[in-house]
Symmetry: C2
């Protein structure tokens, strides 16, 4: 029965939208007593609350009303320049003209979908991949070609077959991938670039966690390895669009991220952003600039690393202690997540109910597969919960899984 005239007026694309499993889980995490490994939440313990307070007061005293006015769609110029400087060691040749500020990385994914994806276009993704990207691009009618991954990320030996299907672009998260925590080694990065070059397919490199590394050496980003990468008028020109965010190195509640792309692509993204939300909050941009300037970002990243490294180690130890035989998991060198695989035949979506009954939550792995699969997998976040709760939560999960295995 139709309640209003709107009911039968939805666009075709709306039928492909569904509420994100992760978003729905955020609601569970708000229930008292639940230990949630579900959301991709940073630890509130490391948010620089005092620095924000100082910055807000300064911004409202010194910038005054300008901080509360509309701003340019491209973003606040000093913030774009700060990002260029901050990125220098990872991404040489990037200037402010290569940078667009977005309202979180999710908006960057949406705008990329808006300017590039025609209904039916194939996007080449890792399997599993970040579900927020799938959610953004489903709205534009994308189809997906999946390349399997292992503990070293995308298995580039399967890449060529996928490239032959004629994808519009490749989407890859090379560092501490969401959801698996895997990092693509240098050799595979070079194969990725070489094959993308041969088939003439550009790349989206999504790197929200690149600086949150706990062990090993930083690997060159795909954008710096790109053979099409060159400097023209001081600007980066090339075949890779690079995404990163303040959500993991400052705070997600200010909704600030950025795109690095050739100026021509930035121009199109700006036009799309004008129609999408005019501009990202001036107040938040100026405040983030005041918080981040003068070296604070570099220093703060170290604090975050120490906090999350400990939590990762606690989770790894707890898994070893509490998981029944047959359960496997990854050993991420950075980031916020690890990936666990139960014995074949177990179903993590069904088990989530039992887990929530034991007051512990995770994200079932199937959500991250563009073309199905992963019924016995799950994503576990280790950044949000305090160490003692991580141990307790993994113990509860271990109990749930053991019970199910005994029944079988």
């Amino acid at each position: 029965m139709h309640q209003t005239l709107w009911d039968d007026r939805y666009a075709m694309r709306t039928q492909r939208m569904k509420s994100s499993a992760i978003r729905e889980l955020l609601k569970i995490t708000e229930l008292p007593g639940i230990i949630s490994f579900g959301g991709g939440l940073p630890a509130p313990d490391v948010f620089p609350v005092e620095e924000f307070k100082t910055a807000c007061i300064k911004v409202l005293n010194e910038y005054g009303p300008q901080a509360l006015q509309y701003g340019a769609t491209e973003g606040y110029t000093p913030l774009r320049e700060m990002i260029a400087r901050h990125s220098e060691k990872y991404l040489p040749n990037v200037t402010r003209d290569n940078i667009l500020i977005t309202s979180g990385s999710q908006q960057a994914l949406d705008l990329i979908g808006k300017i590039f994806i025609n209904r039916g276009d194939r996007i080449l993704v890792e399997s599993p991949t970040y579900l927020g990207a799938l959610q953004a691009w489903n709205a534009y009618g994308a189809e997906y070609v999946s390349v399997p991954s292992d503990e070293n990320g995308m298995m580039t030996e399967h890449l060529e077959a996928a490239l032959r299907t004629g994808p519009k672009f490749i989407y890859v998260l090379p560092n501490f991938q969401n959801p698996t925590g895997a990092t693509i080694p240098l050799e595979r990065r070079k194969q990725l670039i070489a094959l993308a070059d041969r088939y003439g397919v550009p790349i989206i490199e999504d790197d929200p966690y690149g600086q949150i590394r706990y062990e090993g050496e930083h690997l060159p980003s795909v954008v710096t390895l790109d053979s099409g990468n060159r400097k023209t008028n001081g600007c980066y020109i090339g075949n890779v669009i690079y995404l990163s965010t303040f959500s993991k190195i400052l705070a997600p509640g200010i909704r600030l991220a950025w795109v690095v792309a050739p100026p021509e692509v930035i121009l199109k993204l700006v036009q799309a952003k004008q129609g999408a939300d005019l501009n990202t909050s001036s107040f938040n941009q100026i405040t983030a600039y005041e918080v981040g300037r003068g070296g604070f970002l570099d220093k703060h990243v170290l604090t975050i690393r120490d906090c999350y490294r400990e939590r990762r180690d606690v989770m790894l130890d707890a898994l070893t202690e509490h998981m029944p035989e047959g359960v496997k998991w990854t050993h991420p060198k950075g980031g916020l997540f690890l990936w666990a695989t139960l014995p074949e035949g177990m179903n993590t979506t069904e088990l989530l109910q039992d887990a929530v009954a034991e007051k512990v939550a995770y994200v079932p792995g199937t959500s991250f597969f563009a073309n199905g699969g992963g019924e016995n997998t799950m994503r576990l976040n280790f950044s949000y919960s305090k160490p003692e709760l991580i141990n307790e939560g993994i113990a509860r999960l271990g109990k749930v899984f053991k019970k199910k295995l005994v029944k079988k």
Copy 2:
């Protein structure tokens, strides 16, 4: 010559995007010495900077890290409840379940396009209409059916013919319209509802300025006149989606607006917003709640009215004093804009160059026509510039137009 692999990969819709004239004008307004009537900028003079400072300190002290964390896509619950309470006198029966917080009203327009518009769908608009809506919906392949308007807004005697083309929905700005400043009288509102009902076409009511009225009595909003408007479980259910914003009653730099719609539509908009930017800044939502609660909003609207009423009057007087014969303009009862029409044959797009040479700017009217026209019209904003500058700017414009008229 292609610089990168991205160059020939743009989606079909990207060809319809162009940079907004208004956005480009924002750049001109930043040049020193320019008096700009171009942008739709609120007066920085009335931004409650001190109240924001107090609120930011309180939020960071009392809410702490929660204010910097991800939040629910629907928006911050106490803010949604505050909006429902604040709207009570204009929109009875609205509860928080009817309300979605968006990153500015532009995002509401984008999300509406995303969930409702299939390529080729017709949208019924006033002619002229708000160009931000056209920009948002062009990206989804919308076509437009224009209904002409006069000093009383949409000419409802032409509405029936337009409804027979089978539009997906009607888009209307009943109060102090952007760009014309026209207000639709009660009788026409009733005709609009009656005809929309007869043809079974729902309505988007965009009302950014409803409370910024300088003279006359508040008129019932279209949503309250809608005969489909009914209360179910305390919620509004009906055929009108209503949009409003904090940009004009608090500050645009925090990018906060809201949609009022039946809960079923809110659910779809939430799914679309998950893919578009996950959630609107928690920090800005909590801060706006702390600024606005306890009656501040109602009080602050009076301050804004006094400030803008004076500026409107100064602009009306200046137009009378400085405009050559044959130039006509509207007398808006509220809002931020008036609309001027030059004698037939004059072209405001061409004249803009001369105006900028005299250090004064406006928006040429053609941008606001979905299906062409309005070459001799322009939108003038009176909220942004101080009274003495308004007079000087209109004097400069008068000089430019007189010169051109003499030449003809």
